[in-house]
């Protein structure tokens, strides 16, 4: 099998797997709520220590 065919085959397999992975089931909402609670429990460890200063100092020049 040529390199190109192999890569295309892999891509194909990945595509169909993704379709299953991203389907939503009914219990997902509950799980997401529990996950959010966990995140809110530990978020202070991740947030910048001085939120006020962090937010004030984040100044950008416009771009594009």
């Amino acid at each position: 099998m040529s390199e190109r065919e192999r890569i295309q085959k892999q891509r194909k397999e990945r595509t169909s797997k993704t379709a299953e992975e991203v389907s939503v089931d009914a219990t997902k909402g509950d799980q997401l709520k529990a996950d959010l609670d966990d995140l809110l429990d530990e978020i202070d460890e991740v947030l910048e220590e001085n939120a006020e200063e962090f937010v004030r100092n984040y100044v950008q020049k416009g771009g594009e």
Partner: protein
């Protein structure tokens, strides 16, 4: 007939820190850090750049041509991307990709490129001067920077039809793909005193159509700089979009827009929902309305909410797929995934937001912001909430909130690592990236539509790549593999 929707995303990253807190210096440090770790010290070639050319075919004297800053760090990567300093931001422009899914991969690869650049740069900086990068679009103080999508469209597609068909999508798609924002920062939005908006960018748009990107931002940008054969192609430069942390949001942003452009090329604008009478009002009002019920008056005397627009547009895309297969956008599996995800996200934001919090950035962010606010009894203006907003987009794994909210992915880490180094196979980016990887010493410059070689004898030699669908793996891999040197490659190309 619709043509292949070659596409890609350019992202300007927010930047903080650095030796003297100067964003231009810090951006240069980031780009140079990455360029110097590999074989990527290749200059950008500005031949063919015409950012002040207007698609409407006349020069608008009130507009300002973007400044091309030739002296700033600017390089081409082995994956075919461009990494450079644009104004005061490091920017990653993805290589040209053949499908929305592939373009999503190369957008995510850009995050990884920036993350690696950050790591290398910070190794040589004092910890108090460490640089941080954010994949977002505003600083919360009235300054915005862009995430621009690019789509290949037919040159003979009437620009008026493009405006007529696509404005409804560009004002309404934020309900599915907006990245969310705490508060407001421009006068018209501040009047409403919102605690949260759907989009980072919406409040910055002031015109329906125009050439500018940095002021008086237009919903439809007319920059006519095709970077390919201008007789056959146009590059639609879409400046009205948020940087997404959700891979599936990026995929749906690209996929929905590509399908609609193909439907427009194939069948014309008649099936599209009517334009809102005041598009600028619509895009801002929709951003401010978390209930998704606000409706605006349209040219056909009906009124529509953002959700109504998206629902009609989904059906336009779906009809196009049913009638043609949409192979100009992607293979059938991928096209089905675009329609499925777009539909689920659209229904989810209206009926069950928790169910799409793993895909819709604004929902994911809003849940954290409102959850934190309630838990700690904060008011809407608390700096902590703005900090959460910023850190949602922080690229550092130690600080990223997007990495902690349970977003689903399309690609695993191994695929992203591959894409950091290797170009897509089915566009000219393959040839560009391979040349950079194989002959870094002989390439003096490259850009989207050519590679310039210096093989030591004779004049510099430019290899033009005016068709984005030539220079692919299928067409050039054998040539590249059998050429031991740049001279051999050029000789073979001449034959």
């Amino acid at each position: 007939m619709a043509i292949a929707k070659v596409l890609g995303i350019e992202t300007e990253y927010g930047i903080a820190g650095g030796p003297d807190s100067d964003p231009i210096t810090s951006s240069s440090i980031i780009v140079n850090a990455y360029a110097q770790q590999g074989r990527t010290r290749i200059n950008w070639d500005f031949e063919g750049e015409t950012p002040d050319m207007d698609a409407r075919g006349r020069v608008n004297l009130t507009s300002f041509a973007p400044i091309v800053e030739t002296h700033l760090a600017n390089t081409v990567l082995t994956n075919g991307a461009r990494l450079y300093v644009d104004h005061a931001h490091p920017e990653y422009s993805s290589p040209e990709c053949r499908t929305p899914r592939e373009a999503t991969l190369y957008d995510v690869a850009g995050e990884e490129v920036m993350r690696r650049a950050l790591e290398i740069a910070n190794q040589s900086l004092d910890p108090t001067q460490a640089i941080t990068l954010y994949k977002n679009n505003s600083d919360g103080k009235g300054n915005s920077y862009g995430t621009h999508e690019n789509y290949l469209v037919r040159r003979d597609l009437e620009f008026a039809h493009l405006i007529r068909a696509m404005v409804p999508h560009f004002v309404s798609r934020q309900i599915v793909i907006g990245a969310g924002k705490v508060g407001a920062e421009t006068e018209p939005a501040l009047e409403h005193n919102p605690s949260f908006q759907l989009s980072q960018r919406s409040e910055f748009f002031e015109e329906i159509v125009g050439l500018e990107t940095t002021l008086k931002r237009p919903i439809i940008n007319t920059r006519d700089e095709p970077h390919c054969d201008a007789e056959r192609f146009r590059r639609l430069h879409v400046i009205i979009g948020d940087a997404n942390m959700s891979q599936i949001a990026t995929f749906v942003k690209l996929g929905s827009t590509a399908l609609l452009l193909a439907a427009l090329e194939e069948f014309g604008p008649e099936e599209f929902p009517a334009m809102p009478r005041s598009p600028v009002h619509a895009v801002r009002a929709f951003a401010l309305d978390l209930t998704l019920t606000e409706a605006v008056a349209c040219d056909d005397e009906k009124s529509r909410s953002a959700w109504d627009f998206q629902d009609e547009l989904w059906h336009v895309a779906n009809n196009y797929v049913r009638r043609t297969g949409a192979d100009v956008v992607a293979d059938p599996d991928e096209v089905a995934l675009i329609l499925e995800q777009w539909r689920e996200m659209l229904d989810g934001v209206r009926d069950n937001r928790d169910a799409v919090a793993d895909r819709v950035d604004w929902v994911a962010k809003w849940r954290v912001v409102s959850g934190y606010k309630v838990r700690h009894g904060l008011n809407d203006r608390d700096a902590k909430l703005r900090a959460i907003d910023l850190q949602y987009h922080d690229l550092r794994p130690t600080h990223s909130l997007a990495a902690r909210v349970g977003l689903r992915t399309l690609y695993d880490d191994a695929a992203v690592r591959e894409a950091v180094h290797n170009p897509p196979l089915s566009t000219r980016a393959y040839f560009r990236g391979q040349c950079v990887a194989r002959f870094p010493e002989e390439i003096v410059a490259a850009n989207w539509d050519s590679v310039v070689f210096d093989v030591g004898e004779g004049p510099l030699q430019r290899v033009p790549m005016l068709d984005p669908l030539r220079g692919t793996h299928a067409l050039t891999s054998e040539l590249l593999e059998t050429s031991a040197s740049a001279s051999e490659l050029l000789a073979a190309l001449d034959r």
